[in-house]
């Protein structure tokens, strides 16, 4: 049964991949392909954060700092004259090391304390990007001259970059799916729901959370590297609290503890942001308003929320159709 579930998941993943691979052919121009690339790279970022928010119950408001760490790593190393592979590998290492420090500090608490510490750490990384001008070039940001060409394949055009992002996205979805269904993922959910019992059962709660943070940081760093190559530019704005909040909104609006939720959330937020920015300047106001509305009206997120509405609608329909049969039958409950 386990194997058939795994096979089912792989089939779904394959179908999703094929559908997404067709997107550049179905869209009218490179602008839309670029929006699709943005959605996929933010989906990787949101999946990374959802590992913490959904499965560990740890809400981070500093993830844009880790994202930016990977971005600045690549941009700085490239500007210093290193090659793409060195820049990518080193910045992955830097981002994971940064995540380890981040986790070591913030995992001293959970719940609200975790939010506060991650927020403060994220702001410190932002402050560094903004002020440490000799490294980061301050507000002017750093330009990235070219995209890499892995195995001789150029990623210069929108379509080519889309396929690279899609590949990383599918790998990320597979990795998160495997992680969630692995014993470590189950243990992580255990630490979310019953940390004391997990501790009593002999699990090292702190270590499990630490690994979850590292995994989340890895996905965040991958998304960051894609982002810096996508924009070919990085500035402190990417690390601002607004960016952390945006990705948290993606996770929460879609549904944090589902695989599909963060992806739907990323698609929603990136689409709304692109559409709204085209008409009005008030994206931040919209972001805040959507946040408040989601938390007040659909706190579990769109994917579980819609599923709930769908189930109750289906039940209502079914209930109406077998109403005659139900008359006179005593309900066992």
């Amino acid at each position: 049964m386990m194997r058939s579930a795994t096979r089912m998941r792989s089939w779904r993943l394959l179908a999703l991949g094929l559908a997404l691979a067709g997107i550049p052919y179905g869209l009218p121009g490179s602008y839309y392909v670029n929006v699709a690339s943005q959605i996929l790279l933010y989906a990787i970022f949101a999946l990374g954060l959802s590992v913490l928010v959904g499965y560990a119950g740890l809400v981070s408001l500093g993830h844009a700092g880790l994202f930016g760490l990977a971005c600045y790593g690549v941009a700085y190393l490239l500007a210093a004259g290193h090659g793409h592979s060195i820049a990518i590998v080193t910045s992955l290492a830097i981002a994971i090391l940064g995540t380890a420090v981040f986790a070591a500090l913030s995992l001293r608490t959970t719940g609200i304390g975790f939010i506060m510490i991650t927020l403060a750490l994220g702001e410190i990384l932002w402050g560094l990007a903004y002020r440490w001008i000799s490294i980061t070039n301050g507000d002017n940001g750093i330009n990235v001259a070219s995209r890499p060409s892995p195995f001789g394949l150029s990623l210069a055009s929108a379509g080519q970059f889309y396929y690279a992002t899609l590949l990383m996205f599918l790998l990320a979805v597979a990795a998160v799916s495997m992680f969630v269904h692995s014993p470590l993922g189950a243990a992580l959910r255990g630490t979310r729901d019953q940390p004391r019992r997990m501790n009593a059962l002999g699990y090292h709660v702190w270590m499990i959370r630490f690994w979850a943070c590292l995994f989340s940081g890895l996905l965040t760093a991958i998304a960051g590297i894609l982002f810096v190559y996508y924009n070919q530019f990085i500035s402190p704005q990417t690390l601002a609290l607004t960016s952390s909040a945006e990705v948290l909104l993606m996770v929460i609006s879609g549904g944090a503890s589902t695989l599909l939720g963060p992806i739907v959330g990323a698609a929603l937020v990136v689409t709304v942001k692109n559409v709204v920015s085209a008409y009005i300047e008030r994206w931040n106001f919209m972001l805040g308003a959507i946040f408040v509305a989601i938390v007040l009206l659909m706190p579990e997120g769109l994917v579980p929320g819609t599923a709930r509405l769908w189930r109750s609608a289906a039940r209502a329909l079914r209930g109406r159709s077998d109403l005659p049969a139900a008359v006179g039958r005593t309900d066992p409950q």
């Binding site: 809400v59 939010i115 002020r131 440490w132 931040n284 938390v295």
Partner: protein
């Protein structure tokens, strides 16, 4: 010598502003168990309200201090509305409350940008406190000394209020054990509104009296919020003394850092927080919250 002295005065002044900001933050945290992420926005809102009142319309300006108090009252009203209309609906759901405060902070920031534009507004120092005081060969900017005095006065008033009055006793009871406080007949939910409005008002007041030094600009909110967070992590939540000591430490580190290592000023703030988190996670004067 003068350089160091001025730096020290600036540090204590900034510490005083931080205290006004973080005292409310810390009280709200202590009572409601949530970090109020709108606190930076309320600071900025107070500064904008006050600046508009003090600069006036077609020459019909209001006295600086009256503007500061009226601005603070307006911000307190905004705080009370946020608590009544939004946070109240999410009672007991801390995560949701935090996310709502975050959402509101973005909305306030954007509304301020819409209303007051993107250019910084500079507010003149109140004329009665312009210039410098000379003590022997030493020179002090008067207005900064006034801010220190105001902060100390507010600290004493807050302490008296918390320690000596019935309301203060109820707030302390609510901070220590909300369930028991409810059982003995204290309307904790009303305390929430009072404390939230008080904290908001203090933040707004700090925004206005800080405006001759900091000026008022979009982004002031996200500049101040992390400082309040760091102060409270450092000093411990729900503790007035903790906010005071934490504010002074951060004020000193921030100003000396700015002057001596401008590129890393923001990073140096991180060091005391790191030490406290490692050695005393509940903060210098905090108790472990249940």
């Amino acid at each position: 010598m003068t350089f160091w002295l001025l730096l020290a005065v600036n540090s204590i002044t900034f510490g005083g502003l931080l205290f006004l900001l973080s005292a409310g933050f810390s009280l709200i945290f202590g009572l409601m168990r949530i970090p109020n992420l709108t606190h930076g926005s309320l600071f900025m809102l107070g500064a904008y309200f006050g600046a508009s009142l003090a600069l006036g319309y077609r020459g019909a300006a209001i006295n600086f201090w009256v503007a500061a108090v009226v601005g603070a009252l307006l911000v307190a009203a905004v705080g009370a509305l946020i608590e009544r209309l939004l946070l109240r609906r999410l009672l007991g759901e801390q995560l949701a409350q935090v996310l709502v405060t975050l959402g509101i902070s973005f909305m306030i920031a954007d509304l301020c940008l819409m209303g007051w534009g993107g250019d910084p507004i500079s507010v003149a120092t109140p004329p009665e406190f312009e210039g410098f005081a000379r003590i022997g060969s030493l020179v002090f900017p008067i207005y900064r000394l006034v801010i220190i005095l105001v902060a100390v006065a507010v600290a004493i008033a807050l302490w008296l209020m918390l320690d000596r009055t019935r309301l203060g006793a109820m707030i302390r009871a609510g901070v220590d054990d909300p369930e028991m406080a409810r059982v003995v007949g204290i309307r904790v939910s009303r305390l929430f509104t009072i404390v939230f409005a008080l904290g908001a008002g203090l933040a707004g007041f700090a925004g206005m009296i800080g405006s001759p030094i900091l000026s008022v600009y979009p982004g002031l909110d996200t500049d101040m919020l992390p400082l309040a967070l760091v102060v409270v992590i450092l000093g411990g939540t729900g503790s007035l003394l903790g906010s005071f000591v934490g504010s002074m430490i951060i004020g000193v580190i921030y100003n000396f850092g700015q002057a001596l290592l401008p590129e890393l000023a923001y990073f140096i703030l991180f060091l005391p927080m790191l030490l406290v988190l490692v050695l005393r996670p509940q903060g210098l004067f905090g108790r472990q919250l249940p």
